[in-house]
Assembly symmetry: C2
Homo-oligomer: 453 residues x 2
């Protein structure tokens, strides 16, 4: 069989996720996000389509760069309001059997001890279908919301993240041995104390002396996702991540990132194939190219340009409300901004303006949509996997859940015909379905924290 | 109709909750706690029985007082392993329509900003059926697990709790006005920024400058439970709690606590009826008294005495492993220990020993079971509500879920015949079902944080 293409639904417990304004489309149901049955129904639908997983973004602050306030953010529902995504998963898991769940949790704002228990609980309740998207945070508003005085410098955040990871690995991998749970009613012994080990951690940021409160879950450590593309972020990914989430305009650009991360992973003793790469993709399809283009025009009429600027302002750290349409855009020089502006100037040219940015955001975000017949979409996805060496796609929603239904009804059968999409789920936990093993391999850095390692 | 009796199932996301050792009974299913379908099935069962709610205990540390270690704790599964209870609720809510959910969250270890969002998310996803049991923590092991150097003094914890409550009230009650959400697709306005207000908090412990990330949920503030029985704890309950959880050996003792809390609430401008009192109860029943007694003997044969001592040691701060059976028990003199020892000496007499304690723990805990035919149980519950002025009961599990099934099948119909138990759920959110109003009343301290208050 040709290289299998993996598909995640990319979603968020909010209204305006990536493509801003589409919640105003008459068929869009994203304002149902508060209804648990909306989510269980979606989960069943995605499982019918044999999606590998649903991947939840999250943010713990409000976008307040554009105009220096949250007015346009609230009007356009740009990731605000935003509810906790982890609480959707138990209900969606109860409604399904195989669908995986990736959830974004920002370690800056999650005390590690209770966070580790929360993830173990999710791994238990889902029967081993949980993944964690490791985020170290990038919003000043989140820092202020949680009582920190401001953002840490970028590299300090990664130092904190390294310490955090070592601590949660100790809890997940090191505390309970595999055969610690005896569950013997006759002898009245549930767990063998000799096989449960105290976790001691005395670090720069965290100090813990405890047992992990959860017994070993099917995967122990959740499947680890990460999305950093900075130099330090890629090293972090090469060290920890099993799935990497990338965005990009060109195949060669994405290929370079993928090669770099896989190359670094190999230097660290891992296999290149230990890392799965998921690329963000927005797909609009139909029974014919004409039908897809018509749908695209219909969707475009519901885009909220200001809301898209709100999101871009927050991502890039530039207040686009301050600029006239054709005024050259000035940029600051912090590391985060530079990397965003590099991406921008690659596509908009060295002199860029708000008008050019808006033209680029045809569907309410900087992620350009892929529009075409199901065959054309299948062609494009296969070309990306071959040329950019990506393993699959995180499908951003447009008009939801229609966008996922279209993909399942139209694109999945063609990918299956071509032999690049599964026709049934594999058995086993999430990691097993993705990589063939239930637990992190011995070559992963977490293995050093196992008892007796 | 006579005074209605409220019933909650009292449970925990673990194996050994209150009555230690009963997990070894052949019919007990508590070792299924990691299976989401175990919980959704239980939720449906409780809703069939018209239970007001299920109330989840939690603890974020391990019991290590007995023997100075966790050996007997692990062997007996005494609230260890223990998974996060909040993650059970979305799935149980999706499987039911009316059942309420009380969840214990310890504010000492929960950053208030993300906690407030988590509770709002639960209130949204359950359609307004969430309650919060406010706990300020009592385990040194939890403090060490979360990187704190040790427990705060008892009254300092209540100062912290007061500040925490004022902050979460600001987020839940003060940030979004009732009509802030417009949800107008035509005009492309989801929320009106003029009606969403920044929350500023600059306290001794917390500093926040943020918007609450969740739009107003059906109840805004969850139904507030509290269980403190110390002097300071009762003042806290009188100020904040809507439901109070009490334990007690004598009707007059419980009545005195209830009178005191209700009296203090009235002094603070609340109604006595604003506070519902739930008493902990362990019930073993059958078609006849003889059948109940037979069941009791069968259950007793599965009690784990050492596990019960583990739990008592942690609750009372006394290492019972150090004592011979008939050696008089020495006690320390911290406030927490004194109040526990008072309760103990009331029942065991001034000279008490491990033997006396064990005799008292007939079913694996200090909560004495109520054993009898369904009529006898109904008589006893009605006597408690009349004489001790309690509104209902938190039913501790024995052999589970059999204990809840027995109650539903045998006791509920009798209470219904007597006109003291509902025959159908009322409409409305959890607070409406309990108190007749969906939001906290104006007389509650949280009302001062509403916009324009």
């Amino acid at each position: 069989m040709a290289r299998e293409i993996r598909i995640n639904a990319f979603d968020m417990n909010c209204i305006g996720h990536i493509q801003q304004g589409l919640w105003t489309h008459p068929r869009d149901q994203s304002t149902q996000y508060r209804n648990i049955h909306y989510w269980t129904k979606l989960a069943k639908k995605l499982e019918e389509g044999l999606f590998d997983g649903v991947f939840f973004a999250d943010v713990l602050g409000a976008y307040d760069v554009y105009g220096g306030n949250v007015d346009a953010t609230l009007k356009g529902a740009v990731q605000l309001p935003v509810n906790d995504p982890s609480l959707l998963i138990p209900a969606m898991a109860a409604a399904t059997t195989h669908l995986g769940f990736g959830v974004t949790c920002n370690l800056t704002y999650e005390p590690p001890f209770s966070f580790a228990r929360r993830m173990s609980t999710l791994d238990h309740l889902t029967g081993g279908r949980i993944g964690w998207n490791i985020v170290t945070g990038y919003l000043d508003s989140a820092a202020r919301a949680t009582g920190l005085s401001g953002q840490m410098a970028h590299d300090d955040r990664y130092d904190l993240a390294e310490e955090y990871m070592s601590l949660v690995y100790k809890l997940w991998e090191g505390c309970w041995e595999d055969d610690a749970v005896v569950n013997d009613r006759e002898r009245r012994i549930y767990a063998d104390p000799a096989k449960v080990h105290r976790v001691l951690h005395d670090g720069r940021q965290y100090k813990v002396d405890a047992l992990h409160l959860a017994e070993p879950s099917p995967q122990r450590t959740p499947v680890l996702y990460q999305a950093g593309s900075s130099t330090r972020g890629r090293l972090f990914a090469a060290t920890h991540a099993e799935c990497v989430f990338v965005n990009g305009q060109s195949m060669s650009g994405v290929r370079a990132i993928v090669d770099d991360i896989r190359g670094q992973a190999v230097k660290l003793g891992r296999q290149a194939s230990d890392i799965g790469v998921f690329m963000g993709a927005t797909i609009i399809t139909g029974r014919t190219e004409a039908e897809a283009r018509e749908k695209f025009e219909d969707y475009k009429a519901h885009v909220d340009v200001e809301a898209a600027l709100v999101h871009a302002s927050a991502s890039m750290g530039i207040d686009f409300a301050k600029y006239e349409m054709d005024e050259p855009i000035q940029t600051g020089n912090t590391q985060a901004i530079v990397s965003n502006v590099e991406a921008m100037t690659r596509t908009a040219g060295p002199t860029w303006t708000k008008r050019k940015l808006i033209e680029q955001m045809v569907l309410g975000s900087r992620q350009a949509p892929l529009v075409g017949s199901a065959e054309q979409v299948a062609d494009a996805l296969m070309a990306w996997t071959e040329n950019a060496d990506v393993d699959g796609f995180n499908l951003s929603r447009t008009v939801t859940p229609e966008c996922f239904e279209d993909f399942i009804e139209l694109v999945v059968p063609i990918l299956q015909e071509r032999g690049v999409y599964k026709t049934a789920y594999r058995d086993g936990v999430y990691r097993e379905k993705l990589f063939g093993h239930a637990r992190l391999p011995q070559s992963h850095t977490a293995a050093q924290y196992r008892h007796g390692a």
